[in-house]
């Protein structure tokens, strides 16, 4: 009975685990657009996308109105020399002064002025150099969208492409509004690849698979975007239950000679999760080792936990516990990973260390009891400790949270340049731009957070259930009766540390080193009597 219940806990853990990668896949799918976990989710996302699009359009309309109003406030003759002076400031590295000059030229001048688009582009450049990334994106967007001076288009698009790879930005503005439905004519190869990729991606998201494939076919074979396109196709195959096809595509991406570490990393992760879901734990563990994540990030913590589960199912409890030990590093303390408690408790229980197992149960309750009580009292999710972090630590809402933080930081930065800009009111204009964007992003964030926090709450409740079951199992195991002939300790190999070895053994001394997080081994002897459940 005890064994059966143990299996039940394991199954519950596994089921919960299967759900976790699915959720992550859903995130990837969200990115790829074509492989949502369920059709309902897809429909929901589509609705949201529509809402978001409408909202963005509304925002842009408002922004345009605000800008138009701002531009129609004062009508004065603008000396064309202002542009040259601003350009001089720009090349001398006086970006704040240059921004004021370019803004004055745009704000007070006529759109038909000779250097109007150039002034917009250079204003974007100044703002980028000063750290106003969102405002810079807006001006690059404007230049690329109007396309009145085609010679600036590659530069503006080039900037947008680079920003899209490196920083949080308004995806709806750049990808949906600018790139998806536009024809840009001749572009340099790398920009053409980017445009085709985005257009294909959005066609996949909208269910126009044939059109998407036409776009993807136009991407150069040696471009990193070719791999990204293949990734989208692989996720689409996953969505359609063509796991083998997806596996083959992920393999192709990983083995490709093209230098695209980001997409290769994501493919390795997807591959590992796929292998895990198909119970190929050793292969999954090996593949997880290929995945690189930013040190001490949530993604790294998640990866460590996934590896720990894989090691556990492989039967390697030392490695599994070692990885869980790494998760106790202070940098991971704030992350929402409740099933780490289940795994730790399971391992202690398997090794008949019942008191530590009970302590794990207690620590779970100590950590999450308050959140669970608040959940039951139906306190708004954003006010529940842990759920707010949990709901925003990954996926689309995670990216939006990062973008909102960036927007707020950049808005605060305006104060530093008040003295340069107050004459031409660029500071006022930027505040208006940022306020509008923050309001819009917050609205979208709230919609997304509702879903993601529901997911986090559900996960927490499920884990609580598993922990309760585990607690019960531990109680049963403690008082399990043994026959006299079973009452012997299992023989297991003791720990021997060679003095001369190709491996170095660093004993943990209450100090976590980043480079050791993946290599801890937890040496613990089994206290079980009746079996050879050695670690």
């Amino acid at each position: 009975m005890a064994r059966l219940s143990t299996a039940a806990v394991c199954c519950a853990a596994a089921l919960q685990w299967v759900a976790a990668p699915s959720a992550v896949f859903a995130q990837e799918k969200g990115e790829a657009g074509a492989a949502q976990a369920t059709e309902a989710k897809a429909a929901k996302e589509a609705t949201e996308a529509t809402e978001a699009t409408e909202a963005t359009e509304a925002t842009e309309a408002t922004e345009a109105t605000v800008e138009a109003e701002a531009e129609s406030d004062i009508e004065v003759d603008v000396d064309p020399e202002i542009f040259d002076l601003a350009l001089e400031d720009f090349y001398d590295g006086r970006y704040a002064e240059a921004a004021a000059g370019f803004w004055g030229y745009i704000h007070f001048g006529e759109p038909a002025a000779e250097n109007y688009e150039w002034a917009q582009y250079f204003l974007g450049e100044c703002l980028r150099k000063l750290g106003f990334w969102h405002a810079a994106v807006l001006y690059y967007y404007t230049v690329a969208a109007t396309r009145q001076q085609p010679e600036i288009l590659p530069d503006a698009l080039g900037r947008l492409e680079a920003i899209s790879r490196r920083r949080p930005y308004s995806e709806s503005l750049v990808l949906e509004d600018l790139l998806y439905d536009s024809e840009f004519g001749f572009l340099p190869d790398y920009l053409n690849d980017w445009v085709q990729y985005v257009q294909g991606l959005y066609d996949y998201r909208n269910g126009f698979v044939d059109w998407a494939q036409l776009h993807f076919a136009k991407i150069a074979k040696d471009s990193p975007y070719a791999l990204r396109a293949m990734y989208v196709q692989a996720v689409f195959a996953l969505k359609n239950d063509k796991d083998d096809e997806a596996l083959a595509m992920f393999d192709t991406i990983v083995d490709s000679p093209i230098d695209a570490p980001d997409v290769k990393n994501r493919s390795n992760l997807a591959l590992a999760r796929l292998l895990f879901d198909t119970s190929r734990y050793s292969d999954a563990f090996e593949t997880y080792r290929e995945v690189e994540q930013i040190d001490l990030s949530f993604e790294q913590a998640e990866l460590i936990l996934e590896k720990a589960w894989a090691a556990y199912f492989m039967g390697d409890r030392r490695t599994s516990m070692g990885l869980l030990h790494a998760l106790e590093a202070p940098s991971y303390e704030g992350f929402f990973l409740p099933d780490a408690y289940v795994l730790r408790g399971l391992i202690f229980k398997d090794l008949c260390h019942f008191i530590p197992a009970k302590r794990v149960v207690r620590s779970f309750r100590f950590r999450y009891q308050r959140s669970l009580e608040m959940l039951r009292r139906r306190v708004p999710m954003a006010r529940i400790p842990g759920i707010l972090d949990a709901g925003t630590q990954e996926g689309q809402v995670g990216r939006r949270t990062a973008f909102l933080r960036t927007l707020e930081q950049e808005r605060r930065l305006i104060e530093d340049y008040d003295s340069y800009w107050e004459d031409v009111e660029l500071d006022k204009h930027l505040r208006r731009v940022y306020d509008l964007e923050i309001r819009e992003q917050s609205r979208l964030w709230n919609i997304e957070f509702r879903d993601s926090s529901d997911g986090a709450a559900l996960e927490l409740l499920e884990v609580e259930e598993q922990v309760n079951l585990l607690d019960y199992e531990i109680g049963l195991d403690i008082f399990k009766r043994l026959k006299a002939d079973q009452a012997r300790r299992s023989t297991e190999q003791g720990l021997t540390i060679p003095y001369d070895s190709a491996n170095v053994y660093y004993e943990f001394d209450e100090e976590y080193w980043n480079d050791e997080l993946h290599s801890y081994k937890y040496f613990i002897t089994s206290r079980c009597f009746e079996s050879n459940k050695g670690p």
């Binding site: 008191i355 190709a502 491996n503 053994y505 660093y506 080193w513 613990i524």
Partner: protein
């Protein structure tokens, strides 16, 4: 009475330590778990060729600037044999000899004026310490500390003298093929039954050729 007070004080001081030990024993029984980070050595040595520049600072009459070269074969990560090490010393007088002669009309006797010109040795090397150091909390460098003991002749004055050398050193890796060594060795030179002492400080660059097939036949790497 005084002793009793002392006992009470010791017990009182020991008391705070007691509960944690007791609970730890209760929790895990007799055998406490141990946690190791087991990592493959990032740098391993095979055939090491060394070029260096050293100094013989102790002799009052001259300072020797020594150019050295050597070859070491590493049997394992613990044992190595510095098969041959040799150095040529370019000696720079301190002016003491002339000063003594000018001021007091005396000259050094009993080998006091003899200078080391050539050094040769063969030594055993043990490398018990290997570790990593955090630089400005931004990067990690790997280092090892080793100890050497060897024999070899030195040319001092016009004669070859037997010598024993004992020393220690540190190595810092900048890549698999290149590392930097700091050696401190003491040479006991037997010009007579009573050895003379000569300190030798050396900084050198080591070029390493490591053949994995030669060294890692059955090695089990950590997961």
């Amino acid at each position: 009475m005084k002793r009793l007070h002392l006992c009470c004080l010791v017990v009182a001081m020991a008391l705070p330590l007691w509960p944690s030990t007791a609970s730890a024993q209760l929790e895990f029984g007799a055998e406490r778990p141990r946690v190791f980070s087991i990592q493959r050595r990032p740098y391993r040595l095979g055939h090491e060729f060394q070029l260096g520049l050293g100094v013989l600072p102790l002799d009052a009459f001259y300072v020797g600037v020594v150019a050295t070269a050597g070859y070491t074969y590493h049997f394992s990560d613990f044992w190595a044999w510095e098969i041959a090490g040799a150095g040529y010393s370019l000696n720079i007088g301190t002016g003491l000899k002339g000063h003594l002669f000018d001021e007091y009309g005396v000259e050094p006797v009993q080998g006091g004026g003899e200078q080391i010109t050539v050094m040769a040795s063969t030594s055993m090397v043990v490398k018990p310490l290997f570790g990593k150091l955090a630089i400005f909390n931004a990067d990690v460098i790997y280092s090892e500390t080793f100890f050497v003991a060897g024999i070899g002749p030195l040319m001092k004055g016009d004669f070859w003298r037997p010598a024993i050398n004992l020393g220690a050193g540190m190595r810092f890796w900048s890549g698999p093929a290149l590392s930097w060594r700091l050696d401190v060795r003491d040479y006991l030179i037997f010009s007579s039954w009573v050895p003379e002492n000569s300190l030798f400080l050396l900084i050198s660059a080591s070029f390493n050729y490591y053949n994995a097939d030669e060294h890692e036949g059955d090695t089990e790497w950590p997961d």
